[in-house]
């Protein structure tokens, strides 16, 4: 009894050490890349769209695979640990980059002028302005990164290809997967309990004091707390995704000034736009031509498209459920609860308990039911996306001026009217940002949600598998080492991300920018 608890403690400590190393490196990289993107126009145009796509791709299914093979073949445990840490970084890094980027972008112009007036060098700019200004957001993003990192820890510590299984010697991810698989249920539960205790201790002893430390300068004194500003920032981020081309969008509810501002853009660069559209059209034709001309590619593409449709339905259905839960919850917490910060702490802890370690539990819960693989997939999608939406909406609280609460009370705005006139609009920017990142996280989890084996992803014993889906397709191509299929899926993924960003999110942001400006 005592022995295996000790063993689990050692395993968890090793995993945590990997997590801390990965987080440290992610913060360093995030600061570097984020500040670079925010201060150089040229870098911004390249970095931001790439990071945005990497954030949505189930990155674990792609290039880490290659690197894993390379690094893990380094003899001893150095190689495999380096590979695991690298994989965790690929899940932690992106939102930290955005946090840094947004912090630096939000800095008042006076601060930049200050650096010029006092002739600050790059070192001083970094240490006196950019880094301190970024740290509060780095800390809040780190909390999120930690949760995502734990989610992928389980699938990173043990990894198999068609020929070989790689795993770390000590790791809670390996331990839990093996315990669950061997049917050792009581030990598995003890493992989860230890995991949760580690999560709580990390929150209270590591993140909470650091957040307090970095927030003591109270950035609110320099940051504009207007929703308008917030919306503008998010939109400028979305705008950057596909640089240089703009398709005039007519809104169903468009007003005169919409078309005015859009036509203005069009008038300014008609040639460039036409040129870019031509390039895109040519690329599309080329893509279709290559696919159609090759039988294998054509059959791959067909199965990828069908898989996408199935996964798309799952991801958005899960998102609909997320909305049904998170919107009323956030409205309650923002407008009625007096214990918001206590709830946030509680949610941060719950959010850090990854769906991946619960998966054996979830599977055994659903296993007797019809469509159990669908139920498992939906649960994993839901759990991986919901916290982004909730946290993003709750963060809107900072942008709601006190007087709005007073207006609500003074004029007795209640019930349906309050929903229609206050709640929805007050949380809407947070809702949309949360939706963008939450749905990205759902896609990210597709390789776990749709196909989960005893070795996480990879070709272990299959624990749960949907009949068709892009996550499953990626997992299978990973098993068989089918790089062509994998790359083609990657291409499709990227195209889908760009299309959704343009057709859904950008339009929504245009609409709400109109309302909040």
């Amino acid at each position: 009894m005592f022995n295996y608890i000790l063993q689990l403690l050692v395993d968890t400590s090793f995993s945590w050490a990997r997590m801390f190393i990965a987080l440290g490196l992610s913060i360093l990289l995030g600061l570097g890349i984020g500040i670079w993107a925010a201060t150089s126009r040229r870098a911004e145009k390249v970095i931001i769209p790439i990071v945005d796509i990497l954030q949505t791709l189930p990155i674990l299914a792609f290039f880490p695979f290659v690197i894993y093979i390379i690094v893990a073949t380094i003899p001893g445990y150095i190689g495999i640990n380096a590979a695991v840490i690298f994989l965790i970084i690929t899940s932690m890094l992106w939102n930290i980059i955005f946090g840094v980027y947004e912090s630096v972008k939000e800095l008042p112009h006076e601060f930049i002028e200050l650096t010029a007036i006092y002739g600050m060098g790059i070192k001083e700019k970094l240490s006196k302005i950019y880094i301190p200004a970024s740290m509060p957001k780095v800390m809040s993003q780190s909390t999120l990164s930690w949760a995502i990192g734990l989610f992928y820890l389980v699938t990173s510590e043990i990894f198999s290809t068609s020929s070989k299984t790689y795993m770390v010697k000590h790791g809670i991810g390996v331990a839990l997967t093996q315990l669950a698989l061997s049917g050792n249920f009581s030990e598995y539960l003890v493992g989860i309990l230890i995991f949760i205790i580690f999560v709580i201790l990390t929150r209270l002893l590591f993140f909470a004091p650091l957040e307090r430390y970095f927030n003591k300068h109270n950035m609110s004194s320099i940051q504009k707390t207007h929703t308008t500003h917030f919306v503008h920032l998010i939109k400028s981020r979305l705008k950057l995704k596909v640089p240089k081309i703009k398709i005039p969008i007519k809104f169903a509810l468009g007003k005169k000034h919409d078309t005015y501002s859009l036509s203005n853009e069009v008038v300014m660069r008609p040639k460039k736009r036409g040129y870019a559209n031509l390039v895109y059209a040519l690329l599309a034709i080329l893509f279709v031509a290559i696919i159609v001309s090759n039988k294998t590619l054509f059959s791959y593409e067909l199965s990828i498209l069908v898989s996408f449709i199935a996964s798309f339905a799952r991801v958005w259905f899960a998102f609909a459920i997320i909305l049904l839960i998170s919107v009323p919850l956030s409205v309650y917490l923002i407008f009625f609860s007096k214990k918001l910060s206590a709830y946030i702490l509680l949610f941060q802890i719950i959010a850090s308990i990854p769906a991946t370690i619960m998966l054996p539990l979830i599977v055994s819960f659903f296993v007797k039911m019809p469509f159990h693989s669908e139920a498992v997939a939906l649960s994993v999608y839901l759990l991986s996306g919901i916290w982004y939406v909730i946290f993003s909406m709750l963060s809107q609280k900072a942008y709601i001026p006190q007087s709005i609460y007073e207006v609500k009370r003074l004029f007795g705005i209640k019930g349906l009217q309050a929903w229609k006139k206050i709640y929805i609009y007050a949380i809407l920017p947070g809702l949309i940002t949360g939706a963008v990142t939450g749905i990205a996280a759902e896609w990210n989890a597709s390789i776990v949600a749709e196909y989960f084996t005893s070795t996480g992803i990879g070709n272990g014993a299959v624990l749960t598998s949907v009949s068709i889906g892009i996550g499953k397709l990626l997992d299978l191509s990973l098993d068989n080492g089918n790089m062509v299929l994998m790359l083609l899926a990657l291409l499709n993924f990227t195209i889908m991300i760009v299309i959704i960003n343009r057709l859904v999110w950008k339009r929504l942001f245009n609409r709400i920018e109109d309302i909040y400006k």
């Binding site: 929703t227 207006v407 609009y425």
Partner: protein
């Protein structure tokens, strides 16, 4: 219980954590009065106004309106905010109609009343625009319209002119005083918080002068000058000087 005024503020105290903000403030406001509350910044003037509005519960003491204790916002008492507090996502007319939320009136009737008010405050044509398309002075007019659309008896104003530039503020002050003195005006008592001495003398017939934190009443000054008041007259200057003296001593 016997009470004198339309609104009685009795022995109000308030603290935020260990900090005593307001200590035992008492004054009475009568019908047809314009009362200014003036004091140094941070003395809790705005908090006091929110206690009167029923938005904040005092630590001790009570506020009586027509002899009834005010414990939550009341249909008869309305409020104008320093930062206007217009909902940026609603059109101006929708913002004004919010002032009638507590009333069981059809939407057409609300619309009709709001349109009338837009005419009265000189913003005809801006009904369907959004607040952020307006200048500060126009926004505060919308804020004022929202506050009076429900025909309140008491109007509370929290530094209503301090977010505006001086010229705009002056014009709006003149309009406000004319509007409040017009015979069809239901408002019979205004209580305004300000840190501007001249503004207090220009508008009010009673000035409650507060001390620094923890604030208490230093003096309640009556101002008997006739409206409209000439800011350059000797009598006006005398009142201003007196209040400055009390504030700084």
């Amino acid at each position: 219980m016997f009470c004198l005024g339309l609104l009685d503020v009795k022995n109000i105290s308030y603290s935020i954590g260990p900090v005593h903000v307001i200590e035992d403030i008492t004054f009475t406001a009568m019908k047809n009065e314009f009362v200014s509350i003036i004091g140094p910044s941070g003395c809790g003037k705005s908090t006091l106004l929110r206690i009167i509005a029923g938005l904040i519960k005092p630590l001790h003491g009570e506020v009586l309106y027509n002899g009834m204790r005010v414990e939550k916002p009341n249909k008869d008492i309305s409020f104008v905010f320093q930062d206007f507090a217009l909902l940026p996502w609603l059109t101006n007319i929708e913002n004004v109609k919010l002032g009638l939320s507590l009333f069981d009136i059809s939407d057409e009737e609300k619309e009709r009343r709001a349109k009338l008010l837009f005419k009265k405050i000189g913003l005809e044509g801006f009904e369907k625009a959004y607040p952020n398309m307006l200048s500060g002075g126009m926004k505060q007019r919308v804020g004022l319209a929202r506050a009076i659309i429900s025909n309140p008896k008491v109007l509370l104003m929290d530094e209503p002119f301090s977010s505006l530039d001086e010229l705009t503020a002056e014009a709006l002050r003149t309009d406000v005083i004319n509007m409040l003195r017009s015979p069809d005006m239901p408002v019979s008592l205004v209580i305004m918080v300000t840190h501007n001495v001249e503004e207090a003398v220009e508008l009010s017939n009673k000035v409650v002068i507060l001390s620094e934190r923890p604030s208490h009443v230093k003096e309640i000054k009556r101002i008997g000058l006739k409206y409209p008041r000439n800011k350059r007259s000797k009598d006006f200057m005398k009142e201003v000087d007196h209040i400055y003296k009390v504030l700084t001593e």
